[in-house]
C-alpha cells in the first residue's frame, strides 16, 4: 500500500483549482456506499436481533456475548468461554496460513524464474500467470471441484495409471479448501515477488558466489532478505482475502471445514439469520484484517525511513 507519491512541481498542478469538484464523486460514492455502511454495521452489531431477520433498535452487547460467552443450553449456568466461534476463527486463520505457505512455496520459484527470463519473454510468462486471476473465481472454484471430486478426472486418471486403488476423498476436506484458496490467490503471491526480484541486483549473488557461498546459501542469506518486502506483500495479499473467503470453503469444504465467510453468510439468510451477530462477526474479522494491514503499513514506514 504505497503512498500517493510526491507531486512534482507547478507543471503537475494544472488541476489544483479543480481538486474539490474532481474528487467530489469519489467522496460521495465511496463515502455514502462504503464508509457510512461500515459505520452502520458497527452500530448494528450492538442492536437486538429480530426474529424474522432484521433488528430492533435496542442497544445490547448480546452479539459479542454470544460470540465469546456461553451460559449452557438454557442460559442458567455460570458464564464460560464459548469455543464454537473462536474455533471457527482459529480454523480460518490456520487454513489461510497454510494456503499462504503453499502459495509462497510455489510462488517464489515461479516469480524468480520469470524475473530471470530475457525481457522479451518475461511479459508472456507474466501474462500466463495473470490470466487465471481474471477468470471468474466461482468458475475456477467449480472447475477445481470438478477436477478433484471422487469420480473426477484426477482420481480417474490416477487410478487408470495404477497410482491409487480407490479414489482419494479430496472434496469436503481441509486439504481441498487449502487447495481452493491456494488456487484462488496464487497470482497475488507471484506478482509482488516478481516485482521485487526484478529489481534485485544480481551482482550481490555474484559476489556471494565469488566468496564460495553455495547457491542455496546465497538464496537464504542474500536473496531472501533483499526481496523480503515483495514476499511480505505477497503473503498479505494471499492471507487477507483467504481469511474471509466464502466460495472455496463453501464449495470445496464441508461442515468440518466451516470458515468465517460461511459463518457470516449464514447470519443473513432468511428468517434463521441473526443480523447483529453477523455484523459482530464481520466487525471482528475486519478488526483482524486492519491490524494486519496497519502492522504492515508501519513496518513499511520504518523500512522506508
Amino acid at each position: 500500500m504505497a503512498g500517493p507519491g510526491p507531486s512534482r512541481g507547478p507543471a503537475d498542478a494544472a488541476y489544483a483549482g479543480l481538486v474539490r469538484p474532481l474528487l467530489l464523486p469519489t467522496w460521495v460514492v465511496i463515502g455514502i456506499l462504503m464508509v457510512v455502511p461500515v459505520a452502520l454495521m458497527a452500530v448494528y452489531s450492538f442492536l437486538t436481533k429480530e426474529f424474522r431477520g432484521g433488528v430492533e433498535w435496542d442497544f445490547t452487547l448480546a452479539a459479542y456475548d454470544q460470540f465469546f460467552v456461553t451460559r449452557g443450553l438454557f442460559g442458567d449456568e455460570p458464564a464460560q468461554i464459548e469455543w464454537t466461534y473462536i474455533t471457527i476463527f482459529a480454523r480460518s486463520i490456520w487454513q489461510a496460513a497454510l494456503a499462504t505457505g503453499l502459495c509462497l512455496l510455489i510462488g517464489f520459484p515461479t516469480a524468480w524464474f520469470i524475473a530471470t527470463r530475457p525481457a522479451r519473454t518475461r511479459g508472456v510468462w507474466l501474462f500466463l500467470i495473470t490470466i487465471p486471476y481474471w477468470v471468474n473465481l466461482l468458475i475456477r472454484t467449480v472447475s477445481l471441484k470438478f477436477l478433484i471430486r471422487e469420480t473426477g478426472p484426477l482420481n480417474e486418471s490416477l487410478m487408470a495409471i495404477g497410482l491409487i486403488d480407490s479414489p482419494l476423498p479430496l472434496v469436503n476436506t481441509n486439504l481441498a479448501v487449502q487447495l481452493g484458496l491456494f488456487y484462488s490467490y496464487l497470482p497475488f503471491m507471484v506478482l509482488p515477488i516478481y516485482a521485487a526480484v526484478e529489481r534485485y541486483n544480481f551482482a550481490l549473488s555474484e559476489a556471494a558466489a565469488d566468496l564460495y557461498a553455495s547457491r542455496w546459501a546465497t538464496l537464504r542469506e542474500i536473496v531472501l532478505p533483499v526481496v523480503r518486502p515483495g514476499i511480505v506483500a505477497g503473503m498479505i495479499l494471499v492471507f487477507v482475502p483467504s481469511l474471509g473467503a466464502f466460495l472455496a470453503p463453501d464449495l470445496l469444504g464441508g461442515a468440518k471445514t466451516f470458515m468465517i465467510g460461511s459463518l457470516i453468510d449464514e447470519q443473513f439468510k432468511g428468517s434463521q439469520g441473526n443480523w447483529p451477530f453477523g455484523a459482530a462477526v464481520s466487525m471482528i474479522l475486519m478488526s483482524m484484517v486492519m491490524v494486519v494491514l496497519l502492522a504492515y503499513a508501519r513496518a513499511q514506514g520504518r523500512a522506508g525511513r
Binding site: 507531486s7 469519489t26 462504503m34 461500515v38 471468474n136 468458475i139 470438478f146
Partner: protein, 266 residues
Amino acid sequence: MKGVRHYPGFLAMTLACLLVLYAPLAVVAVYSFNGSTSITQWGGFSLRWYGDVFTGPEAGRFGQAAWNSLTIALIASTTAAAIATAAALAMIRGGAFHGRQASFALINLPLMVPEIVIAVSTLIFFSTVGLTTGYLTILLAHITFCIPFAYLPIAARLEGIEGTYEQAARDLYATRAQAFRLILLPLMMPGVVSGWLLAFIISLDDFIITNFVKGAGMETLPTAIFGSVKQGIKPNIMAISTLMLGVSVLFVTAAYLVNRKGQKIP
C-alpha cells in the same frame, strides 16, 4: 553471469504452477464438449451443451442473468472509470492539497475491507435506508468496488505523462478544457481503457457482494451458476463456464494489448 540466476527445480515449479492454474479450467473446457449426459463418462465430441445453454430448459433463466450481468458490468465500469479519471486528475495533477492522503485512503478503501464485510455492510445500509434490494442495489455496490480497480491503471498512466504537453498547448492559447480534450485525454486513453476493462471484469466476476444485495428473484450470471452448482455440476454449467472463460480471456488479452501499445508515450 547466468549462473547466479539459475536455480535447479525452479523451472519445474513454474510449470507446476501453470499446471495447477490451468488444469481445472482445461478439464472443464474439454468436458463442456462432452456428448454424454453424464459428467463422468466421455460420450464423444459434441456441441449439444452449448445448444442447451441457449435453447434448453434453463436458457431463459441464464439468459436473463447474463443480460443483468452484462448491463450492470457495462454501467458500473463506465461510471467507475469516469469517477476514477476525475479522481486521478486531482490526485496526480492537483499538486499538494489538504486531504490528499485521506482521498488516497478512501479510493483504496474497497481494496482493504474484506469482500464479505463489504457485502454485509452494504446490505445493512440498503436495508436501513429502505432501498429494496434488486438491480439498482447491485449496480450501486458494483460502482463502489470498481472505483479502485479503474483508478490504478488510470493513475499509473497519468503519472507517466509529463506536464509539458499540456503546458505547450496552454502556451498556444488552448483553454484548459481544450488542452484536456485534445492533449491529455488522448494520452491518458490507454490507461482509461485498461481501467475500464479491469472494472468490467471485476464487476462481471463478483459473487459475494452481489449475492448479499441482489434480493429474491434477481440473478446475475455468477449467482445463477452458484444456485445451479449447489445441486451438482451439470454439463450445461460447464458450457456456460467455458463461454465465460472465453470472454474473460478475450478481455484480458485486449487490456494487455492496449497497455502494451500504449506503453510508449510520444
